[in-house]
Symmetry: C2
Subunit: 283 residues, 2 copies
């Protein structure tokens, strides 16, 4: 620890989770306050508007769970859309799949991409130089609205918690538009918040996706730097989902490179709904 | 928040997790510093020597996972031993089973029991007045050494992280003594630390139990107030374990009263080993 080390905390319902270290950057973009800190254990970590987004040490807990359940279970995955995901981690996991032709990454805040490329470049890794990745600085809601029907095989919603500028990403109307632009067998994959620390939002996402799509399934796993450490990801499709029966050959190759995700882990994670959430959804 | 609200933090490898609130108690016992705080979200919470032990809101994440996988999978459960567990939560989950005849709770620090009965009495709940519960203020290692062979059907090790006075609870010699005092089909159930924040201790527990017992299985789940939020519990037996095939009738009754645990959750949790731990155990 140096003399200039300090504590940066995320505050959540009477608790706080802080990282100690040297603040590498603190600035305000058009949309939010951006902080990058260098921590001895978590490595470099990114905070947006007071909330920890990712860190070099624990980012794979989040990105591997968002990406691989969807991509290992679908054959046609030519066109991929990432909404948010400015740190590049979701794109990095996507570029591991050879048969993806194009990845559109639509991030509203250009500064998040610039900061990630400068301070957290390991998170985006090879994705930043992959010719299939096209970066668009745009509003994800508007991007989806102007996309033609049945276009994307995969949509990843890799956004922060609901806020003034991300609220629309959690609305019925947005999910309906996502459904419209998905191919027939396409999958929408979204982070769906914490069943503990954001229970009401979590349950609302699950109920909304269940109402709009023919099939939806939720997996639960860990993200150490997020409030409560329990996180969820929900996958939805216009057809049946076969997330527990992925293309095994491809999945086995992918899991060799993973820190957290593997097929056993994935299949289990879809059954890790805490009993109080089971009860509330059934009530 | 009142004027006397303050932050109490647990520090772990350059991170901290803090709760805000009124400090209800701060004292030193013979063994450790004990703090009780009243937090708006987590309710009353107990810290021992700088580490959060439990809180009214999240204690069931821990206690239900330690107790029910073992107790729902074994028919003979007359004699139960709890080592540690001074907050009463493990005993509370145990007394739900009618065919338990006797529970010996062996806690080294009498103050922890006194404080829990005074400030956190909901955690022990009905157990504190259950006639089957016998409290012994003693060293768990010594208690096990003086117990006759094949005596306990269940042993729950409900202890804090390794420290000056709990180190022996993580040694080969102690686990061997536990094996000696277990009945033929008996089960040892122990918290086995975090695969993220205490990875080396976690792996050491798994390897040691695998070496000493015929069967051992590890489950992974969530404890929001513990470092990283990822926690594990390991179950070991002299015979085969059938943790995924519990006595369903009894289990279905138990799960109705649970906040986190249910049979689906349990069976999944035994497969939630992060891939990096899989790789390390196989290397």
């Amino acid at each position: 620890m140096t003399d200039i080390a300090t504590w940066i905390d995320e505050y959540h319902k009477g608790s706080r989770f802080g990282l100690n270290g040297k603040v590498l950057l603190r600035k305000n973009s058009k949309y939010q306050e951006i902080i990058v800190i260098e921590n001895d254990y978590y490595g470099k970590a990114l905070m947006l508007d007071g909330c920890w987004m990712t860190s070099l040490r624990d980012e794979k807990y989040y990105h591997e769970c968002l990406v691989h359940p969807a991509l290992t279970s679908i054959d046609d995955k030519s066109h991929v859309l990432i909404i948010g995901g400015g740190d590049g981690g979701t794109a990095r996991e996507c570029v591991k799949y050879a048969n993806i032709a194009k990845i559109d990454l639509v991030e509203i805040d250009e500064e998040v991409i610039k900061v990630s490329k400068t301070f957290l470049k390991e998170i985006g890794g090879e994705a930043w130089s992959d010719k299939r990745l096209a970066i668009h600085i745009d509003d994800g809601v508007k991007w989806v609205e102007k996309t033609k029907d049945n276009f994307y095989d995969l949509i990843f919603i890799d956004c922060s918690d609901p806020s003034e500028f991300s609220n629309l990403l959690f609305k019925d109307s947005f999910y309906k538009e996502c459904k419209r632009i998905l191919t027939k067998k396409g999958i929408l994959a979204t982070q769906s918040e914490s069943p503990e620390s954001f229970k009401d939002i979590h349950i609302n996402i699950l109920k909304t996706l269940k109402k709009i799509f023919r099939a939806s399934e939720t997996m639960y796993s860990f993200v150490p730097i997020y409030p409560s450490g329990i996180w969820s990801w929900t996958f939805a499709s216009k057809e049946e989902l076969y997330l527990s029966k992925p293309n095994c050959k491809e999945a086995l190759i992918i899991e060799k490179g993973c820190e957290i995700w593997n097929l056993n882990f994935q299949n289990a994670a879809f059954k890790m709904m805490p009993n109080k959430i089971v009860k509330e959804l059934n009530s």
